[in-house]
C-alpha cells in the first residue's frame, strides 16, 4: 500500500462511516452551540426568595425595597411568619428567606445592635452562593449607611466616617473570567473535553471497524492517525479561534503557547483513540461505553473541583486522561496568558500520555490479525453494530 492509497483509504473510511463522520466532523459544530446556550445567561439571577418582615418599621421597609432591587434574587412571597416561609423553602418554591425580626428598627434607633437573618438552600450550592452573596451585599450596604448615620450622631463626620466604620476597604477583582460568568468558566474547559471525546469516539469507531483494529500496515496506521490528528486540530482551532470569540469568552492569552500545547494534546488523544478502537469488541460497544466517559473525565479534570482538594492517588489516575493536563494547559494558556514554563508540568504530562497511548496503539494495531470469535451474546460479538 502506497502512502497515497493509505491516505485516500483513511478519508474514505471516515467519510463513508456516517456515525464516525458525524462524531468527527459534525458533533463539534453542534456542541459549540448546544453547550454555551445552556449557560448563555452566565449569572444566576432572579432566584425566588421569600421576605418575612416581622418588624414593620420604616427601616424594615427600606430593607425590603433594597432586597427587591438585588439582581440575584426576586421577591416572590412575603409570608407573615418564618414557619410559612420555611414551608415554601421546603416545597422548593423559594431558594432563600430574608427574615427581618421584630424589633430591628427599634434596636437600631436605640443604638443597639439589630439582627438580620438570611437563609439559603445550600442543597443547590451555586444558587446559595449567589443568593447569600447578593443579599449579603445589599445588607452590607444598608448597614454601612446606618453606621454612617450613627457615626454622624456621635459627631464623626466627613472622611473620618469611613475610617470609623470601615477602616479597611476591600476591592475584590475576578481574574481572567472577569465577567464572573458561569458559561465563560465552564465552556472553555468543556470545549477541550468535547474535542477529545468526539475524536476519541469517531476515531475509535473507525479503527474498530477496519480489520477489527489488528494487522495494520505502517502506512495505514500513519495515514489514519494523521487524518484524525488534523481533524482534531481543526476542532480545537474552531473552538479556540471562533467559538470563544463568538461567545465572547476570555481568550487569546498566549496563542503561540497554544500552538505547542494543542498539537501535543491532540497527539495524545489520537493515540488514546486508536488504542481504544483496537481493544473494543465492536463499534456498538465502542459508542456505548465511550459515551459514558465524558462526565467522569470532566470532574476528574480538576476544573470544577480543584486537584488540591482531591485525594492524591485520584489526581494521579486523572493524569492518565489527556483532558486533565489538556484542560489545565489550555485554560492557563488561553484564558490566563500563562507562559510555556508555567504549563511545563502539563506539557510533560501530555507528552508522557502521547508516548504511552501511542505505544499501546502500535502494539495492538501492528499485531497479527486475529480470528474473531463468531457469536458472542449481546454486544460482545464482532457482528454487532
Amino acid at each position: 500500500m502506497s502512502w497515497g492509497e493509505a491516505w485516500r483509504e483513511a478519508w474514505r473510511n471516515i467519510l463513508s462511516d456516517s456515525a464516525a463522520a458525524l462524531a468527527l466532523l459534525g458533533a463539534a459544530l453542534l456542541y459549540s452551540f448546544y453547550y454555551p446556550v445552556a449557560y448563555r445567561h452566565q449569572v444566576a439571577t432572579q432566584l425566588p426568595i421569600a421576605v418575612v418582615d416581622e418588624d414593620h418599621s420604616a427601616l424594615s421597609r427600606e430593607i425590603v425595597r433594597s432586597a427587591q432591587a438585588v439582581r440575584a434574587v426576586r421577591v416572590v412571597a412575603t409570608p407573615l411568619d418564618l414557619r410559612r416561609a420555611a414551608a415554601l423553602l421546603e416545597a422548593g418554591e423559594v431558594d432563600g428567606i430574608l427574615l427581618i425580626p421584630r424589633g430591628l428598627g427599634h434596636d437600631v434607633l436605640r443604638g443597639e445592635q439589630g439582627h438580620l437573618l438570611l437563609h439559603g438552600n445550600a442543597a443547590y450550592l451555586i444558587r446559595n452562593a449567589a443568593l447569600l452573596g447578593g443579599l449579603g451585599e445589599m445588607a452590607g450596604g444598608a448597614i454601612a449607611e446606618l453606621a454612617e448615620r450613627r457615626a454622624a450622631a456621635l459627631g464623626i463626620a466627613g472622611p473620618a466616617v469611613l475610617k470609623a466604620t470601615q477602616p479597611v476597604k476591600l476591592v475584590t477583582r475576578p481574574l481572567y473570567n472577569t465577567r464572573d460568568g458561569y458559561g465563560s468558566y465552564v465552556v472553555p474547559a468543556v470545549a477541550v473535553l468535547i474535542a477529545q471525546q468526539v475524536l476519541m469516539i469517531g476515531a475509535a469507531l473507525i479503527v474498530c471497524g477496519v480489520a477489527r483494529g489488528r494487522g495494520w500496515s505502517a502506512m495505514r496506521l500513519g495515514a489514519h492517525a494523521l487524518a484524525f490528528w488534523l481533524i482534531g486540530m481543526l476542532t480545537l482551532a474552531y473552538f479556540l479561534g471562533f467559538v470563544f470569540w463568538f461567545q465572547d469568552y476570555p481568550r487569546g492569552g498566549n496563542a503561540l503557547g497554544a500552538l505547542v500545547a494543542v498539537p501535543l494534546f491532540m497527539t495524545a488523544c489520537v493515540g488514546l483513540a486508536m488504542w481504544l478502537g483496537s481493544i473494543m469488541p465492536n463499534r456498538a460497544r465502542t459508542m456505548q461505553v465511550l459515551t459514558l466517559t465524558s462526565v467522569p473525565f470532566f470532574f476528574l479534570s480538576g476544573t470544577s473541583w480543584p486537584h488540591v482538594l482531591m485525594p492524591e492517588p485520584l489526581v494521579w489516575v486523572a493524569r492518565l486522561i489527556p483532558t486533565t493536563p489538556g484542560i489545565q494547559a489550555m485554560l492557563k494558556l488561553n484564558q490566563m496568558g500563562a507562559s510555556l514554563a508555567e504549563v511545563l508540568p502539563e506539557l510533560l504530562n501530555l507528552a508522557a500520555l502521547a508516548l504511552l497511548f501511542w505505544g499501546l496503539a502500535l502494539h495492538r494495531l501492528r499485531a497479527e490479525p486475529v480470528e474473531p470469535a463468531l457469536d458472542g451474546p449481546a454486544l460482545d460479538g464482532p457482528a454487532a453494530g
Partner: protein
C-alpha cells in the same frame, strides 16, 4: 412468542452472560459512584492556596494577614513583595487568589482615610476562586469590625461579637447542607445523570438486538426488555444512595420509597425514549446511540440542578423540560435534602409518567415500521 415476563428473564440471562453488560448494570455504576464520592470527599472548599503580597510591612498589614490566614477557605502558601511573582503563581495553578496590601495602607488608615486592600481570585476556577473571594471578604469584614472605634466592648466576655461595631449583624445560614459539602450537594446529582445516560445506551442496544434478531415482535417483548433495565437501574440508583448513607453518613430527609418510585418512572420514561431513538436512528445501533447521547449527555448542563435555568434563553428552558432527568432531579432534591411534603410530589410523578405515555405510541410505530422493512 415471548410475553413480557419471559422477555424480562431472557434479557437478564443475556446480560448475565456478557461481561460488559453485566458490569454496566452492576458494579461499574457503583464503582463510578465510589469514585465520585472519593473525588469530592474533602467535602467543602477549604485550605485553598493563596499568595500574599504585602508591600506595606506594617502592624496593620500583619494583623490583617493573620485574620485572612485564619479564614477556612484560605491557606497562605507564599508571601512576596512582587505582584508579578504572585500572578505567575496563579497562572501556574499554584494559587487560586492573591491578597495585595499596597504600600501606605497603614498610613492611610491612620490618617483617617481608608486603607485599600485588594483580593484577586482566579475565576477560571469558579468554585475555588469564588470560595477564596468570599472568605477573604468575610475576614476583612471581621477585621473592620474589631478595628472600628465604634466597636463597644462585648456584653459578656465569653460571647464577643466581631460585628458588635455594626448597627445590624447579619446571620447567613445555609440550610439543608450546612457544611456546604460538595460531596453531598453534587454527587447525588452527578450519579443520577450518569445512571440515566448509562440506562439509555444500554436499553437502545438491547432493542436493536431484538430488532436485528427477531424483527417484528409483540409489544410485550420490548416491554419486557425495557422493564429489565428499568428495574436494574432504579435498584442501582437507590442502592447507591443507601450505600452512601451507610458508608458516608448521607441523610435522606424525605422518603426513600418515593424516590424509588420516581426513579422507576424516570427510567421507564427513558426506556420508551430509547425506543424512540432507535427509530430516529433508523435501527442503526451506532447512530441511535450517538443521537441519544447528544440528547442525554448534557443532562447536567440543562437540568437546572447545578446552574439554574432561570433567566436562560427559551431554548434552554424548553430543552431542560424535555429531559425526564430535570423533572426527576427536582424531586430527588426535595426528598434528599428538604423533606418536602408528599403532596408536593404528585405533580412531579404525573409529569414523569407523561414521559412514558406520550412517546410510547410513536416509538412503537417507528419500531414496527423498521421491523417491516426488515434487516438493514
Amino acid at each position: 412468542m415471548m410475553g413480557w415476563a419471559q422477555a424480562f428473564r431472557h434479557e437478564a440471562g443475556l446480560v448475565w452472560r456478557s461481561r460488559w453488560d453485566r458490569a454496566l448494570v452492576s458494579w461499574l455504576p457503583l464503582a463510578g459512584l465510589a469514585l465520585l464520592i472519593w473525588l469530592f470527599s474533602a467535602g467543602s472548599t477549604r485550605q485553598l492556596p493563596v499568595v500574599l503580597v504585602d508591600n506595606d510591612h506594617s502592624a496593620l498589614s500583619r494583623a490583617l494577614t493573620r485574620e485572612i490566614a485564619a479564614a477556612p477557605a484560605v491557606r497562605l502558601v507564599a508571601q512576596t513583595d512582587s505582584l508579578d511573582e504572585a500572578w505567575s503563581q496563579v497562572r501556574a495553578g499554584h494559587a487560586f487568589g492573591v491578597v495585595h496590601i499596597p504600600h501606605g495602607a497603614a498610613r492611610d488608615a491612620a490618617r483617617g482615610s481608608q486603607a485599600t486592600v485588594f483580593v484577586f481570585y482566579n475565576n477560571s476556577f469558579y468554585t475555588a476562586g469564588g470560595a477564596v473571594a468570599r472568605d477573604v471578604s468575610a475576614a476583612v469584614m471581621n477585621f473592620n469590625a474589631t478595628l472600628s472605634p465604634l466597636a463597644r466592648p462585648p456584653a459578656t466576655a465569653d460571647a464577643p461579637s466581631p460585628q458588635a461595631a455594626l448597627p445590624i449583624a447579619i446571620t447567613a445560614t445555609s440550610l439543608f447542607n450546612s457544611r456546604l459539602s460538595y460531596e453531598w450537594g453534587l454527587v447525588p446529582v452527578i450519579y443520577s445523570a450518569v445512571l440515566n445516560l448509562t440506562m439509555l445506551v444500554m436499553v437502545i442496544a438491547a432493542y436493536s438486538r431484538v430488532l436485528g434478531r427477531e424483527g417484528a415482535v409483540p409489544w410485550q417483548r420490548l416491554a419486557g426488555v425495557g422493564l429489565f433495565y428499568v428495574m436494574a437501574f432504579s435498584v442501582l440508583h437507590s442502592l447507591g444512595l443507601v450505600a452512601a448513607m451507610g458508608l458516608r453518613g448521607w441523610t435522606v430527609s424525605g422518603s426513600l420509597a418515593l424516590m424509588w418510585v420516581a426513579q422507576w418512572l424516570m427510567y421507564a420514561g427513558y426506556a420508551v425514549i430509547g425506543l424512540l431513538f432507535l427509530g430516529l436512528g433508523k435501527g442503526d445501533v451506532v447512530r441511535s446511540l450517538s443521537t441519544a447521547s447528544v440528547f442525554a449527555g448534557p443532562a447536567l448542563a440543562y437540568s437546572n440542578a447545578l446552574f439554574p435555568t432561570l433567566g436562560a434563553p427559551w431554548f434552554t428552558r424548553f430543552w431542560s423540560l424535555l429531559m425526564p432527568y430535570t423533572t426527576y432531579i427536582r424531586l430527588q432534591g426535595q426528598q434528599l435534602y428538604l423533606a418536602a411534603p408528599l403532596q408536593d410530589a404528585w405533580s412531579t410523578l404525573v409529569v414523569l409518567a407523561a414521559f412514558i405515555v406520550v412517546p410510547a405510541w410513536p416509538a412503537w410505530a417507528m419500531y414496527r415500521a423498521l421491523a417491516r422493512k426488515g434487516p438493514t
